[in-house]
């Protein structure tokens, strides 16, 4: 990937995406056959809160893909972006480590039997969602480790470093490491919507169009449903 320095009009397309969009953005960029965009795109993956912090402090992005409507509203306040488009929805999921898989535990077992859990930091949409879920069931969330983003939670559950974690359904589906899901928990009532926003910078908008078309087009929809995302 060859990238030009900052300044200049021919800078690489800067795409900021929430880390739970890792696989999807990878597929979108890989599926761009003409290669014009993918080869010049810089993908910055981090928790939505981190991305906002970077943009607040002056980082420039041509396309921003965020989880959670609060974060998108915050981004809009900067006035540098066109109105957002919602394109995917995912649900919360309670997952357990490979060793606990198949033990038929309920959510309340996880809390009452002293298992160690992990969730995202509350400034990340996945953490905010987990907090709402916990509050609705009056669970004590204080003992859960707060990981920087949803992929960090997933990785720790996969390795068995924690017993359970609150992640997105789509991250559970993306896992290949034999983690289990607690079925029938209320978690699926809690959802996060993903939206993207394009920079008001006209040149960027023209260049980002191919990418946006593949996100909202047939290829994007197929990739989203394969990864377990729902359409808004």
């Amino acid at each position: 990937m060859v990238t030009a320095g900052c300044g200049g009009d021919d800078h690489a397309l800067r795409v900021f995406a929430a880390s739970s969009m890792t696989d999807f953005m990878g597929e979108i960029l890989a599926g761009d056959n003409e290669g014009s965009v993918a080869h010049s795109a810089e993908l910055n993956l981090a928790g939505s809160g981190t991305l906002l912090l970077q943009i607040d402090e002056g980082a420039r992005a041509d396309l921003v893909v965020l989880a959670g409507s609060d974060h998108m509203k915050h981004l809009m306040k900067s006035g540098d972006f066109l109105p957002p488009t919602e394109f995917a929805i995912t649900y919360l999921s309670v997952i357990v480590s490979p060793t606990l898989k198949g033990q038929r535990l309920s959510v309340h077992d996880l809390w009452s039997e002293g298992f160690q859990g992990a969730m995202c930091i509350v400034s990340a949409p996945c953490g905010e969602l987990a907090m709402k879920f916990g509050n609705s069931l009056s669970l004590d969330m204080k003992g859960l480790s707060r990981e920087p983003n949803v992929r960090a939670v997933l990785a720790k559950v996969e390795r068995g470093d924690v017993d359970f974690g609150l992640v997105y359904e789509t991250d559970f589906l993306a896992s290949r490491a034999g983690v289990g899901e607690i079925p029938g928990s209320e978690a699926s009532n809690f959802s996060t919507a993903y939206s993207f926003a394009i920079s008001k910078d006209a040149k960027a908008a023209a260049r980002v169009k191919t990418l946006v078309d593949s996100i909202t087009g047939e290829a994007g929809r197929r990739a989203l449903s394969e990864l377990g995302f729902k359409q808004p």
Binding site: T50, G143, S145, R146, P148
Partner: protein, 260 residues
Amino acid sequence: MTSRLPVSIRVLAVLAVSFVALPLLSLLWRVPWARLATLLTRDAVMDALLLSVTTSVVAALISLALGVPLALQLSRMTGLAVSAIRAVVVLPMILPPVVGGAALLFAFGRNGLVGSVLADITGLVFPYTIGGVVLANTFVALPFVVITVEGALRAIDPRYELAASTLGANRSRLTFKIVLPMVRPALIAGGFIAWARALGEFGATITFAGNIQGKTQTLPLAVFVALESDREAALVMSVLLVSVSLIVLVSLRDRWWPVR
């Protein structure tokens, strides 16, 4: 009187100082001084402060307890072995902390090489406990004790020891009454630098010990969390950390780096 340096060198030197000092000044510039006290007494901040102070002090003491014997041993060795051991021990100083955290997980994690055996035998689990924080802190702090103390030990004139032993001092008397008192400044410096390093530890801690308020969420971790949710609190805690480090470095002055 030393001769004056060329202008170009002096300009670059000023640039070097500004490069390091400017980000720190910018931090101070953004701090909401008026609300300092309110922000500092927040629950999450107090929890983190207490945890940070406890774990970093314990880590510094462990680093001294283990690092000084190793430094004594190394200072008596020569050849390839000493270089190899020193390289391994000093590695955590320059290792990306998150790699250190991952390495600790693979060693002392629940399914780790040592951790799984340890948990079976003693029931001791490190990740996500306060013990894990101390372990991560010690991992990064220990090298500072070893190199500081070893350097001082190697600088001792061997004739003192020789004289003491011809006068009949036994091995432990030699070590505790002659050698260690002579490197006292290095012991103090090593201990404080180790403490300051432990206090600032982030990467290994969040990777290995997790981020649980009141249990494993140290000040740097609290800064990281607050940076996205409560930026003012993050700034206040950052300033606290910077001040502590600065005080340690200034009060150690010539003990850490050689001054003519």
